[in-house]
Symmetry: C2
């Protein structure tokens, strides 16, 4: 039954990317650029890197951070993981079943070092270039895929969720994942489908209320259908970037991605930050439901992210 739209959550903006409204899945063409700036010799990526990102919807940068900086980030991660006493329980997501810590959200606000990292020119400068605008952090988190019992994360386009559940109008956002434990082929690494960002999979079904509480543990709505996924993977293949610790993996908000389970004794952890263009700030959710909480999707009138120069220490 279609729930009554709640006053204050109805957007007046046209919905370029409808999803969870039809009984059958649909594949829609992307209506937005991938790279919003013209490349020049002053750009923070090479021309080849820029073209690769535009074509594939992701880019791997293995040596962006220095080894000493990576150690500093790993130490801070261990501190946060080891002592969650002072952290708002809402920010802590645990594995279904084992109860192991899976994510800590809003980490760019609760940790000085991750605030510094998110605003580092080497990361944020690339985001500003690719999105052609000032940026702010839409969401950040530390992800822990625990050893032995780390569960899979099913295929999804982040944008689909951010659009329907959070009210992100256009595809003008990107994610950066900073690898903090060695990624191996067998410990459930991030899988990406090259080229998938150029199509939008409109999913079937309707979003239930407070969907996010469950979806952070196990995705059940906003799930792309088998046929669309098969078509994307048969065209683009599947890539699993496996850089050393400190590697930065950038990917477009609409790139289809997921990861398998991890039964190995080797946990997989990363810092994850979503940069959104300041001009692309959230409106009312296009799904017509109450917006998700602030730690998942920064609302209101965000300020441009202050940029930091120099090394992280």
């Amino acid at each position: 039954m279609k729930e009554q739209l709640q006053a204050g959550f109805v957007t007046t903006q046209a919905d370029c990317y409808p999803s969870r409204v039809h009984a059958m899945p649909k594949v829609l063409a992307r209506q937005d650029p991938v790279v919003y700036s013209d490349w020049t010799t002053a750009s923070p990526l090479t021309r080849a890197q820029t073209e690769s990102y535009a074509r594939d919807g992701f880019l791997v940068l293995p040596h962006l951070l220095k080894p000493g900086e990576v150690v500093c980030l790993q130490r801070e991660m261990a501190v946060l993981q080891g002592d969650t006493e002072g952290v708002d329980p809402e920010l802590l997501i645990r594995e279904p079943g084992s109860g192991a810590l899976r994510s800590i959200f809003k980490v760019h606000e609760i940790s000085r070092i991750f605030t510094r990292l998110a605003g580092d020119r080497r990361l944020a400068g690339i985001a500003r270039f690719l999105l052609g605008d000032e940026v702010y952090i839409h969401q950040s988190r530390l992800n822990f895929k625990p050893a032995f019992r780390g569960k899979e994360f099913y295929w999804h386009s982040d944008f689909e969720t951010w659009h329907v559940e959070d009210g992100m109008p256009r595809m003008r956002a990107l994610s950066m994942s900073i690898v903090l434990t060695p990624n191996r082929s067998y410990n459930g690494p991030l899988m990406l489908i090259p080229g998938s960002h150029r199509q939008y999979i409109s999913c079937v079904g309707e979003t239930p209320d407070n969907h996010y509480v469950q979806s952070l543990k196990k995705q059940e709505y906003g799930v792309p259908d088998d046929d669309s996924l098969r078509a994307l993977a048969e065209t683009g293949g599947i890539e699993t970037p496996l850089g050393p610790v400190g590697t930065v993996i950038l990917f477009d908000c609409n790139t289809m991605h997921g990861s398998n389970s991890n039964i190995t004794p080797f946990p997989r952890s990363n810092f994850f930050a979503v940069y959104n263009a300041l001009s692309n700030r959230l409106v009312a959710p296009f799904g017509g439901k109450r917006p998700r909480p602030d730690f998942l999707a920064k609302r209101g009138t965000p300020q441009a992210l202050p940029i930091h120069e120099g090394d992280i220490a």
Copy 2:
């Protein structure tokens, strides 16, 4: 509470490899050879292959079968997968949740082509050499790891189960997995821990009655503990053999192995046969419970496997 031993299922043989009897896990040394024959120039493996198998507990043979034979096996697999009408439902194992077909057991008895494959000199000859005896098929199956919803298979030593639940006395058996769809790093391939076959992880806890009904879907008893697994993997690492279709992966009955989930659109299927030495035939289960059914563990007085020469067609 310790269940009363059932008359007729008590073995008089000493238990060299006790498991599921202690409150704490134990690591015991292997008391049996890995390769039971002396290598000669007439052996069906090279000296290097034989040494590699003895050291690692597994061996990968990419070109043992001809392309035309592989096509024939794939066709037969598709027939069996597509029409299970005439098959005893007990032999069909389905995925928890989705109900997708996960395995067909006893396939070397219900399919003429897989009977032929199991007895092929190129496979059975190697088994006879490594086990230093005539052999018979302890168990066989087709495994389908479905696309999108293929679940993980947790770490285990096959021998631990075969010993406790089936009454296999000694480590004198091996498995052969014949790859029938492309193994990729990301579709939940077999993971093996090199060298793990030289230690026996005695698991904690007790086996419930009719454990096999659940364990074929999700392993919960006879599960190695985290510390032992971590020690094995830190010493030996983890290997994921990724040969083309037709690749044969041999592994010792005590090699620790498992696989992650498969959310990709690419299913992973293989034919799996367990060769046991004729002299190592089953006695009463060492766990003291009723034996598992015949399709999981061939009992009685098995005959030596007839060997077939020439191509499979």
